[in-house]
């Protein structure tokens, strides 16, 4: 938005950072309220109206906790592992345009920290890197439950990257652009991927959605942090604010993954009927639309989380390699055929 990229990164980046971190904290409050209502309870009520200050109390409590490191743990990895998840996820959010506007018949992205030409590749790469902090935490803890959870997390993360890439290829092939802004611009002109490609678009969206769940370790793919089997998962040995950072990164990853899915398949900030309005109005409306769609996906992810069972490890792997990978390949092939025949 601001022409100077450094200044843009600083100002918009600061705003995105602030908004996302606040939303991440509020997401934990919202999840407690939502899950409580699903279960017939009420959730937190005491601190602040509707208990909304609860996450801040949690954070303040975590800061006071004693910082314990297991005696035989790998100290370097143990210390740096919690820094990565939040950093990676916020980096993911840097290439997503949170708003947009029409100017001279061309859709431009706005409220974006960095307009990277290879935005989709950047997103997929950072999602792939998310495996590392889980592995570091699990290995460095010197705890058999953490190690087991880390093994499973790595297996799951690495396996589900492939159908995720294949699903992300569908909008890339259809639009011919590798940047997230480009994909959204194409969707603004031709219609959302979900609707524009008759069956393939919807299936690709579902595939991307499921693989994002798997990358974020959400139920039904949350074997790495399965409480009844693995104590606390990879964060078993982490006390205080370090565990808080891991927990926060889960919410943030879900949020940002929803935003990415919205951008790639649901048109991002685009809503029909924006063409004639002044630019500031378009930016405001598209910002609201983007957040509406993102939060709708976010709510659905947590709805699934509190209703479904989790997959067993072998079921998870079987699903990925026997169904999702061939399915993804089929979707990519269909899209390529459709594009080359001029149907899209």
């Amino acid at each position: 938005m601001i022409p100077n990229p450094w200044l843009n990164g600083l100002v918009v980046g600061g705003a995105v950072l602030a908004v996302l971190m606040t939303l991440g904290a509020l997401a934990s409050w919202w999840e407690r309220k939502f899950s409580a209502r699903l279960q017939g309870r009420v959730g937190t009520t005491i601190l602040g109206p509707w208990g909304i200050l609860q996450p801040f109390a949690d954070a303040a409590k975590m800061i006071q906790k004693e910082d314990l490191i297991p005696r035989d743990a790998d100290r370097v990895l143990f210390y740096i592992a919690p820094l990565f998840p939040v950093t990676l996820v916020l980096g993911l959010a840097a290439v997503i345009p949170f708003a947009g506007y029409w100017a001279d018949g061309v859709w431009h992205g706005a409220a974006m920290v960095a307009d990277v030409d290879v935005g989709v590749l950047f997103v997929l790469a950072l999602s792939g890197l998310m495996v590392f902090p889980l592995w570091m935490a699990g290995w460095a803890s010197n705890n058999k439950y953490s190690l087991l959870a880390a093994m499973r997390a790595v297996a799951q993360g690495v396996s589900y990257e492939i159908p995720m890439v294949l699903a992300a290829l569908v909008p890339v092939i259809a639009s011919g652009k590798l940047s997230v802004t480009g994909v959204i611009a194409w969707q603004a002109e031709h219609g959302w991927i979900v609707a524009r490609l008759p069956v393939v678009g919807f299936l690709a969206f579902v595939l991307f959605y499921l693989t994002s769940l798997a990358e974020a370790n959400r139920i039904p793919f949350d074997i790495p942090e399965a409480e009844s089997e693995l104590v606390g998962g990879v964060i078993t040995e982490y006390t205080g604010i370090k565990s808080g950072l891991f927990i926060l990164s889960e919410y943030l990853h879900t949020l940002v993954a929803s935003a990415v899915a919205t951008g790639m398949f649901l048109g991002g900030g685009h809503v029909p009927g924006l063409a004639g309005l002044p630019i500031w109005a378009q930016v405001v409306i598209s910002l609201a639309a983007m957040w509406f769609k993102t939060l709708a996906l976010f709510v659905s992810i947590y709805w699934i989380r509190w209703s479904w069972y989790r997959f067993r490890s072998d079921q998870l792997m079987e699903l990925c390699w026997r169904y999702l990978v061939p399915g993804g390949l089929g979707l990519v092939a269909s899209t390529a055929v459709a594009v080359s025949l001029g149907w899209v």
Binding site: R41, V42, I46, A60, K61, E66, L68, G232, I235, S243
Partner: protein
């Protein structure tokens, strides 16, 4: 271990800040903020061994919602503030309880829920039972009952929250005495002067097998088993019917 003066760790900068002009006010405000955050965000470790575990689960469920007070039940002791010992602690389990208690980071508290955790209940003198979990870990709040009602668990949690607040104010430094010496049951037992006469009479009648009003209500004995009718002419016994 319950922290008596409300502070668990003193950083070297603490005294510097405390003694700087005007710094004391900020420090006490910060202390109060941190104490209130800790009070309202107590994460539980369920050391649930017996039937009290069911009541604990009930307390975390719909009608009495422990999540209202900001508690989350975490499976790993490293994340928890409060260990709720709900159930009998056997000799085999005792070293494990101690180990998990040691793994919890400071500041930490313990709640003994139910009579088995308080004093071993009627299993007290048995070879395999530890008479109360405070043999092993220091307990801050005792919740009496066998099992306590789910809402009493919430009352116990609130008592712990009060205790944390009072500790910061320096008002409460002794361990709580066992409730057996403090809390009197509302219904007196046999021979108690506070018991009502009707209840005493009803208890005596029940012990004698009588019903309401002293009337006999024993289940009548079943009739004697009748001999099977002798209808088979080819039977070996040759008994006459």
């Amino acid at each position: 271990m319950a922290i008596d003066d409300g502070r668990s760790f003193e950083h070297p900068l603490y005294h510097y800040w405390e003694n700087s002009p005007g710094g004391g006010i900020g420090l006490t405000s910060l202390d109060r903020l941190l104490m209130h955050s800790a009070r309202h965000s107590l994460w539980f470790f369920p050391m649930a061994t017996s039937c009290c575990a069911i009541e604990f689960m009930t307390a975390a469920a719909s009608r009495v919602d422990l999540d209202q007070a900001g508690t989350i039940i975490r499976p790993t002791p490293r994340h928890c503030d409060v260990m709720v010992v709900a159930g009998t602690i056997t000799v085999k389990m005792a070293p494990r309880v101690k180990k998990l208690w040691d793994q919890m980071p400071e500041p930490k508290w313990a709640i003994a829920m139910g009579s088995c955790a308080i004093c071993g209940d009627f299993y007290r003198d048995i070879y395999s039972v530890v008479p109360g979990v405070d043999v092993i870990i220091p307990v801050d709040v005792y919740i009496p009952g066998c099992p306590p009602n789910a809402d009493q668990v919430m009352v116990g949690l609130q008592r712990l929250q009060d205790k944390i607040k009072l500790q910061l104010e320096g008002k409460f430094v002794e361990r709580e005495l066992r409730p057996g010496t403090m809390i009197y049951p509302k219904i007196g037992t046999h021979g108690d002067a506070r018991q009502s006469a009707e209840v005493a009479q009803a208890q005596l009648d029940g012990a004698r097998g009588l019903g309401v009003g002293g009337k006999e209500h024993r289940v009548p004995r079943p009739a004697a088993v009748q001999a099977p009718p002798e209808a088979d002419a080819t039977s070996d016994s040759g008994e006459q019917s």
